[in-house]
Structure formats: C-alpha cells, structure tokens
C-alpha cells in the first residue's frame, strides 16, 4: 500500500492506533511495529518520541504515557485512556463490507459455518452504515488464490476455462505469468500449452484451477507474443458502448462524425464476433479480408433466418 509523507492528522491517527496495538503486543520489536504500520523505523521512532510527550493534562511523569523502546523492543504503560481499539470509521466499514461481499461466493459449500459468519458480520456492519454498498463478485477468490500460489511457487496450472471467443469450455495447462486488468475485467497473462503460445485469460471465465504437478517448461520455449490483428472502422451509432466493447479509450475521441478508429486484438475471431455484434453500428474500412469474413458469417446466419424450419 502507498507510502506517503504523513500529515500531522494522519500521524495523530497513527499515534492513537499505536497505543492499543502496543498494549496488546507488549515487547514488539521496532522492526515488526514499523512493518505493521507501514512506515520506516525512523518515522516510527519519531512517532514514539511524540507519543512520549502526550498524556493527561498536568503532563507530569504521572500523567504522561510511559514508553520504553531503547532496547529495540517497545512496551507501554500508563496509557489506559487510549487503550481501547478505535472504532472503525464509516469508510473503513464500507471497505470491509465490500470485502466480505467479495468473499461470499468463493466459500466451498461444505463450509456453511463460514458463510454464516460472513453473513452475520455483514449484517452487523449494515446495521451501522446502512445498505450503501453491494458487490457481486465476478471472480472466485479461491481461483485467484491458487493462481497467486502457482506464480509464487513457479508452478503450472491445470485450468478449466470458458473461452467466449471460441464458445467452448476446455481443459488447459498454462504457466501463469502476470495478473492484469482490462476494462474492469481481471486477466491472467499466461503461456498456454494447448495453444502453444501466450494468451490472456479472463479470471471470471475460470471454472476451475489446480496446481499442476508437472514441471513447468515454458522458459525453454521460444514462443513470442502472437501477431496482432488490426482493423480500421467507423462507428455510426452507440459510440460510447461500442468504444468500450472494442477497448478503446473514450477520452481520445475527436467527435467528428466520420472519425476512423483503429482496433486490434490477438484474436481474429474476437474482431469478427465484435463486428458481427455491432453490424448495425459499425463499418469496417479495412482490411477487406476481415470485412469479407464478417460478411460470410452474416450470410450464413441470415440463411438460417430465411430457412423455413426456423420461421
């Protein structure tokens, strides 16, 4: 998480949180304490020196907070007033409520106890902040955990994956390389042994993920990123939605009616399907071969609609 120069106010907040933490972790090392509060040891020492000057009015040794940390280990006395853990702010409660939502659909069905605990915590928090946040998770947190572990342990994954472009569910062995994001969707960049190339997978399309016991061999492979398919088009209708569909940045649009847009993808199928989807709203300028493929697909589909069987 971000390390920024503390303002006097956030520093005050940290001091108020240091007291209960040290009280329940008497003898904690300076190093561990700095890690817990995500600050440098120097800044922590400055915090502790400030805290030492604080206490009840009067400010004699009897009233001041008594800290000792010369030994490199911190303990605290005479801080009863601040000993209670501070309440969670509304923003912190919202953050936790959303986090609990994200966990919900990832708990195995046999762990009803956990689902119960999550619901009761969520209800408690809702009672405090109201019904102001709700999230339907798109990715199973257990799948993400397996992916992270495979990456950490440099192992391959066996996945069951639904490809929207191929309209197919398949079993694949992959070497996970990098987690990323694409217009709100979480992605995994990986080497796929079935496709014999690097592919981007959408995490919300994973049906299953398991660590593979087979040794990874991707480093020996010299496969490079596959070639990009490119096209130019005009967008005549539903500009915003169509730009989002083609993963184009809405900020760079000139607004002229005959503006040409360049779109690209590793998958030609993805382009064909998107242009088919937006038949009413887009116009392919080039390449002609792509336009032809979309035309053929449209023709085949139209034939079905004209077929009496489907009337």
């Amino acid at each position: 998480m971000a390390k920024t120069q503390s303002s006097p106010i956030s520093k005050a907040a940290r001091l108020l949180d240091l007291v209960p933490y040290i009280s329940t972790h008497q003898g904690v090392s300076l190093k561990d304490l700095a890690i817990e509060f995500d600050i440098s040891v120097t800044e922590l020492l400055d915090d502790l020196n400030t805290l030492w000057m604080c206490g009840l009015p009067g400010y004699t040794p009897l009233e001041l907070i008594d800290l000792s940390f010369d030994s490199g280990f911190v303990s605290i006395r005479n801080a009863e007033v601040l000993q209670k853990v501070r309440l969670l702010t509304k923003e912190e409660l919202v953050v936790i409520a959303i986090g609990l939502d994200l966990l919900k659909e990832s708990i195995p069905s046999e762990r009803g106890d956990l689902n119960g605990a999550i619901s009761s915590l969520a209800e408690k928090i809702k009672g405090l902040i109201g019904d102001i946040a709700f999230v339907t998770p798109t990715v199973n947190s257990a799948h993400r955990a397996v992916i992270l572990r495979a990456m950490k342990e440099r192992k391959d994954l066996e996945i069951e994956y639904h490809s929207l472009i191929r309209d197919q569910v398949s079993l694949r062995r992959i070497t996970p390389l990098e987690l990323g994001e694409d217009n709100g969707l979480e992605t995994l960049f990986a080497y796929c042994y079935q496709a014999k190339g690097f592919r981007t997978f959408r995490l919300d399309n994973f049906f299953d993920a398991q660590i593979s016991e087979v040794l990874s061999e991707v480093s020996n492979e010299s496969a490079s990123r596959s070639e990009m398919f490119k096209a130019k088009c005009r967008i005549n209708n539903r500009l915003r939605t169509t730009l989002e569909r083609f993963r184009l940045n809405t900020a760079s649009v000139s607004g002229k009616s005959d503006e040409e847009f360049s779109v690209e993808s590793f998958s030609q199928d993805w382009l064909i399907r998107n242009f088919l989807s937006t038949l009413g709203n887009t116009e392919i300028i080039e390449p002609i071969e792509l336009a032809k493929l979309v035309g053929e697909k449209a023709h085949a589909t139209l034939d079905l609609y004209k077929n009496k069987v489907f009337a």
């Binding site: 971000a2 006097p8 106010i9 005050a12 949180d17 933490y21 972790h25 995500d38 400055d46 400030t50 000057m53 009840l56 009015p57 601040l82 209670k84 853990v85 309440l87 969670l88 702010t89 923003e91 912190e92 953050v95 936790i96 409520a97 986090g99 994200l102 966990l103 990832s106 956990l114 605990a117 408690k124 928090i125 405090l128 102001i132 709700f134 947190s141 257990a142 397996v146 992270l148 572990r149 309209d167 569910v169 994001e181 709100g184 969707l185 915003r240 730009l243 809405t250 607004g255 088919l276 009413g280 336009a291 032809k292 697909k297 023709h299 589909t301 139209l302 079905l304 609609y305 489907f310």
Partner: protein, 316 residues
C-alpha cells in the same frame, strides 16, 4: 508539525478521560499546545475538532453546567470512540482482515490499511488455518469510488461530468445513496437533483473528479431505497425464445439453463431467456453468429434480419 500532532492526541486524551463536559477555557488552560492570542486558540480548536471528526472521532457538545448556559462543554464518549463490533472471535478477525486485504493496491487501500491495524490491535490472533485459501480482490483503482463513498457516508451532495452515449459530457448533480458492482462494473446510485428521480451512473463513465457540494448531512437516504432491488428492477423484463445449436452459445445456455429443451429441429435446442435491454440482446445474439437463431419476439427478429441483410450488402 509534530506540535499539531501532539496537540490532537492530547486533546483526545483529555476529552476521553473526562467524565463531565469540559469548557473551552479549561481546554485552553490545561491541554498542552494551545498557545497565542485568544483568537488564534479559538481557530486552532475549531480546526482540531474538524480534524478529529475526519478521523471518526466525534466530539460531543453539551452544557457543562445548567446555570451557565452560555458556556458549552466538550467531551468524547468512550462508546463513540472504541471499536464497535463488540466481542469477536479469532475466525471473525480472520474474515474481517481478509475482507480488508481485498483492497491491497486498489482504491480505498488507505482505509483498508487503517482498518487492518485496528483489527490487529484487538490482539486476537487471527485463525487463518480455519479458512480455505482465498484471495479476494477489489479490482478498482478509480479514485472516484473513494470520493463517492466518502460523500455517501457524510451525506454530502456531489456533482460530476457524465458521458452520454454520444460521448458528450453533462454536469450531473446528485444526492448519492449507494455504490454497487456487478459484472465487473461499478455503479453509483443517487437522487438526480435536476431530473428529480433515482438514477444510476457507471463509475467509469464519470469524466471528472467527483466534487462535493455543500455540507454534511444534507439529506437522508429514504427508507424506500433498497439497493438490491434497485439493481434488479431498473427496467422492464422481457422474454425471448431462441434456438441454440447443440453444444454452442455456452453463456446463453447457462443463463437459460432451466428452460433448455431439445427442439424439433435436429441439432438445435430451444430455450427462453429474460432480457431488459433490446439493443444489448441483439448484439449478444449476433456475437454467436450462425449458432443462434432468435424465434421471438418478432420485432427483434426483424431487426436482426435487417442488420444481417445490411451486413451482407456492405461486406458480401
């Protein structure tokens, strides 16, 4: 700089320790750090109160002595200062911590970090072994989410630039009620102050930073506002009947799972689907090309045929 920090901590201690209200003059006399002219002390104190409130510390104002009505007193009630989820088990600490961990590297990670510290400070070891390996992740970095949540919890009105379908941006002013995420997109719900009705806004279509307008506590969220039903019932629901080539159009198939039946046409299944948005359904069906044939409603079918004919004409 550290004088300010010290003064805030000392003020908190003094107001928290007192069982009665203490007056401003007592505060200035006894709490370390209030210096300078009467006016500058006054200003310092007003700022300090605001700063503590922003940290979630509510200073209660009350009468110190009924005989001296003109002199207000201040204190912090221990109940409004301390952790409010009560006694919690080690398993609950683990779940709450895991929930906060979901924000690592995302918007609101600052609040997640301070929440985590408080949870750790409770001093109950979390019981992670009792929980399966999970890695929740709030996949959003948009700082407008934080601004929206801050405005909702403070009940402050806001304004922002919003992109319409033609990418023209318009100023919208709302009283924000809630945030929600579905299918990977984040939405902001609120009362549109100019249109006079409840609206939802997709966060990534907000083209400016969210601006706060006016004071805290400017409105109440009506009891009739139900976030979950709001997310579901925004538009009328229609039913479509369609043919799917056997084994194809998996997404449509899983959405229509309970209505799936083999049709009289060999190699094709007949399903029904509910939908709200015509255009979105048309685009979704066309994605599958010749693996999907819409049977009804007729007007949608006509529209699809028209688009296919135009497609054949321009690309054929």
């Amino acid at each position: 700089m550290s004088r300010k920090t010290e003064r805030l901590v000392n003020l908190t201690i003094a107001l928290l320790a007192t069982k009665r209200y203490i007056t401003k003059s007592e505060i200035f006399r006894t709490v370390d750090g209030y210096e300078g002219s009467a006016e500058s002390k006054e200003r310092m104190f007003e700022r300090d109160k605001d700063d503590l409130r922003n940290l979630g510390i509510e200073i209660e104002v009350g009468s110190f002595d009924p005989l001296f009505e003109d002199e207000a007193g201040y204190r912090i009630k221990p109940d409004s200062y301390q952790f409010q989820l009560g006694e919690i088990s080690s398993q609950e600490v683990s779940l709450l911590s895991l929930a906060a961990e979901a924000w690592r590297g995302a918007a609101l990670d600052g609040s997640a970090l301070t929440a985590l510290r408080k949870l750790h400070a409770i001093g109950i070891e979390s019981d992670l072994d009792s929980i399966p390996e999970l890695a929740p992740h709030a996949n959003i970095r948009d700082k407008n989410l934080q601004l929206a949540i801050a405005a909702i919890t403070a009940k402050k009105r806001i304004s922002f630039q919003y992109l319409n379908e033609n990418l023209q941006s318009q100023v919208r002013k709302i009283a924000p009620y809630a945030v929600a995420s579905q299918y990977g997109h984040w939405y902001l719900y609120g009362q549109d102050l100019e249109k006079g009705s409840l609206r939802s806004f997709r966060l990534d279509r907000i083209a400016s930073d969210i601006q706060e307008e006016g004071k805290s506590g400017a409105y109440e969220i009506p009891e009739s506002f139900q976030l979950r039903s709001q997310m579901e019932d925004s538009d009328e629901l229609f039913t479509a009947h369609l043919y799917l080539r056997t084994g194809r159009a998996l997404s449509l198939r899983s959405r229509a799972a309970n209505s799936l039946q083999p049709s009289k046409i060999p190699g094709w299944d007949l399903v029904s689907l509910t939908f709200r948005d015509r255009e979105r359904l048309i685009e979704e069906l066309l994605w599958y090309g010749d693996d999907v044939v819409l049977h009804s409603p007729q007007d949608l079918r006509d529209e699809i045929i028209l688009r296919l004919e135009n497609g054949v004409k321009s690309y054929g």
